[in-house]
Amino acid sequence: MAVIAENTVNFTKALAPTSLSVSKSNIEKAMYTLENSPLPTTRNEAWKYTRLVKIGKVKFQNTKATIASIDPYKIVESACTFVFVNGHFSAELSSRVIPAGVTCELLSELNEEIGTSVNLENELFNATNTAHLTGGIRITISAKTVVESPIQIIHVLKGDHVISNFRTIIKAEKFSKSAIVQGFFSEEGEVNFCNNITEVSVEDNAFLTIDKIQYESENSFHINTEEVQQAKNSNFTINTFTLNGGIVRNNLHINVNGENCESHLNGAYLLKNKQHVDNHSIVDHKVPNCESFELYKGVIDDNSTGVFNGKVYVRQDAQKINAFQSNGNVLLSDNATINSKPELEIYADDVKCSHGSTTGQLDEEAVFYLRARGLSEKSARQLMVSAFIGEVLNKVENEQVLDFIHGILRKRFDWNL
């Protein structure tokens, strides 16, 4: 290995190298990036609206911690629940009743090299995740297995300036059907950083749903990168709910590699105070006869900022693609900001694609109408916000996930619906 020069980025300086069996070549690539790539600035197109300066200033560390109870973070009742605190597996809080046909392996216990499908070149956060990988899990749903209740993975950050570099690897084999629930939380502590990567492979005719809830503290950082590969006839859904967090960035990259696939990307973000949430998605239609549906909606209050950048590629040979993308936002305050940029890049000619972005305020006429029926102004506004965001919530099939989200809305946004 080359002599390691000092990192150019501050935030990884205090971190030990990973103790996991990450492949040597990946570590080398990651180290090269850490040594040579500076923290992206807003001059970088991919980070145009999201300033990372605050992240760059913190010297993160990784420490183990324990939490008293998992109850506040349990999204669903599942006997297959894995809990990670600061990226480290917590055997006491987890419940390892693994459904038949499913294998769950902790990356810390893996006796093989951990490779990756994410790009390590110039990608600072992927490189950090690789070189300093804290923990991870590999879930394999074997061919033809239908898993009834979801597999749940819960992450809790605790302590000050803690970083968790975590990796989830999901392999949904042929003809399998399953659902994964991911929750990201924080408990006591300041300025934490969850740097998570999820690599997903949905094989032929497989059906996979991921429900993801992000609910960390208002001064935390969260960067989530999903790299998804879809093989032919597969159906993949990911629902992302961002309900708290300081700076949150979701990079969702779906590679549709096989024909007759369906991809569903839904997201809702409700922001207040100074939160900044940035959803970047790419759906890459490389082959013909596929459909993708993307719906993101945001409610942005106070001084918070939402960013939506959704790209759909339809490659030259990818005929008969139906791709729909929409982003809607409601601004509840004069200081709230949204930067929305839906993009289609189409190189095939026989396709049906649409995209749209709307931004507005609540309809004051409707608020008056509801108040004239006796609703308080607060209830009237809530009802309208909930109707707006309801279009996304309706996409969630798991009632327990929905209930959990509603619980947070009551707690954090004082909803009484």
Binding site: D363, Y369, G374, L375, A387
Partner: protein, 252 residues
């Protein structure tokens, strides 16, 4: 029930109500007629508490309380109901859901317990039958994709659900076919008791064949300029408003 005295109201810099007087007692039905732009809807809006309008003079007493001091929702909770001339569409907000919230907030305001789901559903069934509103419409998003007539029927359905003391129906008859008109009027009549009162704003005498008013008022240029019995409506239908303008000019 309601006593409006010397009411002046303006929107932006324009004065629209110019010293309006009107008293309505419990058990009465009043009709207000008048040319377009006279200020009929403005009166309804001011009474409902729309903030675009500024009351510059006058008073409104509603069952012993100062109506103008109350927020819109408080007026509704105290029993004032406005059937809108142009009901808004509210996508995603279900009619029955919002009505349940409304009823419970009204009950809370009165210190009562929330309505049970069972009682509420029974009430929805009963009241939607009253105005022959399809139960499916009752549970759809508020007015979304409703026809003009369905929107008006939905207003009366809501009125039936909320059981107000004073209802103001702003051109609830416009856009209704003859059957719908009969149904809506029937609904209003069935809801009538000696303890509540209704103000119907209309351009057409035909509604008043069904909802028989005790008084008919002519609202012209921001004031009530003439009051009579139900025969006044017939006269207006026949002769229009010019003779009233002439009467007014002569009086000056």
């Amino acid at each position: 029930m309601i006593k409006i005295e010397n009411l002046h109201a303006r929107v932006e810099e324009k004065e629209i109500l110019k010293g309006l007087n009107l008293t309505v007692n419990a058990g009465e039905i009043h009709a207000i007629m008048g040319p377009n732009g006279a200020g009929k809807s403005t009166l309804a809006s001011v009474l409902a508490g729309r903030e675009d309008f500024e009351v510059t003079e006058g008073s409104v007493d509603f069952d012993g309380e100062d109506l103008l001091e109350m927020d819109t929702e408080e007026r509704a909770r105290e029993g004032l109901f406005l059937a809108f001339q142009y009901p808004v569409e509210i996508p995603g907000v279900s009619n029955v859901n919002f009505l349940r919230t409304a009823i419970n907030e009204i009950r809370e305001h009165k210190g009562e317990d929330p309505i049970s789901a069972k009682d509420f559903m029974a009430m929805v069934r009963e009241k939607s039958a009253l105005v022959e509103l399809d139960a499916k419409l009752a549970s759809r998003s508020v007015n979304e994709g409703f026809s003009g007539g369905e929107k008006k029927r939905n207003e009366i359905f809501q009125m039936a659900m909320l059981n107000p003391k004073l209802s103001i129906l702003d051109e609830t008859d416009s856009g209704l076919d003859i059957d719908a008109l009969r149904i809506v009027a029937n609904g209003v009549n069935k809801l009538k008791t000696k303890n509540n009162a209704t103000i119907v704003i209309t351009h057409y005498q035909r509604l008043l064949d069904y909802i028989v008013p005790d008084f008919v008022h002519v609202l012209f240029d921001g004031k009530i300029v003439k009051t009579g019995g139900k025969e006044l409506a017939l006269e207006l239908e026949e002769k229009g408003y010019d003779w009233i303008k002439e009467e007014l000019a002569a009086a000056h």
